[in-house]
Amino acid sequence: MLDGRAVPLTLLLVTAIFIAAVLADTSDEHLLERITNGDEGALGSLYDRHVRRLYSLAARIAPREADAEEVVQDVFVRVWTLASRYDPGRGSVIAWLLIMTRSRALDRVRALRARPDGHNAIDPGTIEKATAADDTAEHHLIGAERAERVRSAFERLSAPQREAIDLAYYGGLTHTEIAARLREPLGTVKTRVRAALMKLRDALEERA
C-alpha cells in the first residue's frame, strides 16, 4: 500500500532513475538511438559535438562556404532520417559521420564540375562512380594528436605527392582520371600515391 512514507521514497527513486538515465545517455551511440526514436534534442547534441570536424572535412573537399554548409546540412538530414542504418560493427559514429560527409561533399563537387558552365568539366561517367565505395570496411578514427601528426606529414609531402592524394581522396578522382588530369603515365601516379601513403603511415605510427 502507498502509505505516508512510501510516497516520498518512491519519488526519490524515480528521480534517481531519471538522473541515471540522463547520465547514461551521453555516448554517441545513445544519441543515435534517441535520434532513431525521434528525439530532436539528441540531434542537437550530436551536432554540437561533431559539427566542427564535419564542417572542416566538408570545407576541405568543397571549399566554398555555401557548399560546405550544404554538405553538413545534408549529412544531418540523413542522420535524422536514416539513423537506424548506422552499424556499430563497422566503426564509430564519428567515423560513420565523416565518411558520409566525405561522400556527400564529393557528390557536391562532382555535381558542380559536371555543370556545363563549370570550368574543368569532366567525364560524366565519373559522377556515376558511387562514392559509397568501400563502405563495407571497418573504420577506426585516430585521436586529435595523431591527426595533427598526419596533417603536418601531409604538408611535408612533395608537391606532386600532395596533389595526387588531394585529387584522389579529397577530389574523388580515380587514378586514371588523375593521370589524365596531370598528363602523366598511370604507373607514375600509382607509384606516387603509394609512396605518399607510406610516408603518412610512418607519421601515423611514429611514437610521440
Binding site: 554540437d48 546540412q73 595533427e148 592524394i165 581522396y169
Partner: protein, 242 residues
C-alpha cells in the same frame, strides 16, 4: 589479377581511387590473399586519418538552426515512432510515473471492489438471517409516491431500500429511525441517488427495545439525535420481529 598487380593497387584502393572494375577484381584477390589483407589493414587507418587531418574550419553560428530545421522538416525518422522529444528524453521518469499511477489506480479499484464485495456479503448475511423480518414502508402525505422496504435482523442489521424519494436540497438529508417505546433511535442517514432510489445496509444501533416501526424523516444535513422533520416513509415492524 596477379599478386604483384594487386599489391600495387592497395594504396589507391584505400583512397577510394580505383575504377569500379579494378576495385571488384582487387577485392576478389584480397579475399584470398593474407599478405594483401595485412597491407590493407596497415593502410586503411592512413586514409581514415585523412578524414580528420584537415585544417580546422569554424562553421557559421547560424548554421546550427538551419541544419536542425532542415532535418526536422525532412520528416520523422525512418519507420519509427513519430517525433516525441519528451518521450525519448524521459523514458525512466515516465515509466515510473505510469507504474505508480497504475499501481495507485489498481489499489484504489481493488479497495473499492473489496468494499463492494463486503457490502454485498453483509446484505446476504442479513437477508438470509433466521430472524429476518420484512418491513414495508409507505409513502406519507409529503411524498405519496415514495415506497420503501427494510429487511431487519435483530442479530445482523438491516438492509434498506427505497424508491422515488423526493430530491433533497443540499442542506437536508433523510434519516432512518427505529421507533421504539422508549423513543426514536437513529439507524443512519440516507442520501438517495438522482432518481430517488437507495439501497443501504446498516448495523443495528444499540438499545433497540421492541421497535414498533421504522421511519424516514427529513432532517438537517448531518443528521440529528432525535427526529425533527416531516415523516416521508413509515412502516410497522411485524410482531415476529419485535
Amino acid at each position: 589479377m596477379t599478386h604483384e598487380h594487386a599489391a600495387e593497387l592497395i594504396a589507391l584502393h584505400v583512397l577510394d581511387a580505383l575504377d569500379p572494375g579494378e576495385r571488384r577484381e582487387l577485392e576478389a584477390h584480397v579475399a584470398t590473399c593474407d599478405a594483401c589483407r595485412a597491407e590493407l589493414r596497415a593502410l586503411r587507418p592512413v586514409a581514415d586519418a585523412l578524414l580528420v587531418a584537415v585544417p580546422e574550419r569554424e562553421p557559421a553560428p547560424g548554421l546550427r538552426g538551419r541544419v536542425l530545421d532542415a532535418a526536422l522538416a525532412a520528416r520523422a525518422p525512418a519507420g519509427r515512432r513519430p517525433p516525441a522529444t519528451l518521450r525519448a528524453a524521459l523514458p525512466a521518469w515516465l515509466a515510473a510515473a505510469a507504474a505508480i499511477v497504475i499501481a495507485a489506480g489498481g489499489l484504489f479499484y481493488a479497495n473499492r471492489t473489496s468494499q463492494q464485495l463486503s457490502a454485498a456479503r453483509a446484505e446476504i448475511a442479513i437477508l438470509t438471517a433466521p430472524d429476518v423480518v420484512r418491513v414495508d414502508l409507505q409513502g406519507q402525505p409529503v411524498a405519496p409516491d415514495s415506497t420503501g422496504r427494510v429487511y431487519w435482523s435483530r442479530s445482523r442489521g438491516l438492509v434498506f431500500s427505497a424508491s422515488k424519494l423526493p430530491a433533497l436540497p443540499a442542506s437536508k438529508i433523510y434519516q432512518l429511525w427505529f421507533v421504539t417505546t422508549g423513543g426514536a433511535i437513529s439507524a443512519g442517514l440516507v442520501q438517495p441517488g438522482p432518481s430517488g432510489d437507495s439501497v443501504l445496509t446498516f448495523d443495528n444501533p444499540p438499545g433497540i427495545v421492541g421497535p414498533v416501526a421504522l421511519a424516514i424523516t427529513i432532517e438537517p444535513a448531518g443528521g440529528v439525535p432525535s427526529p425533527t422533520g416531516d415523516k416521508y416513509l413509515v412502516g410497522a415492524v411485524p410482531a415476529a420481529g419485535a
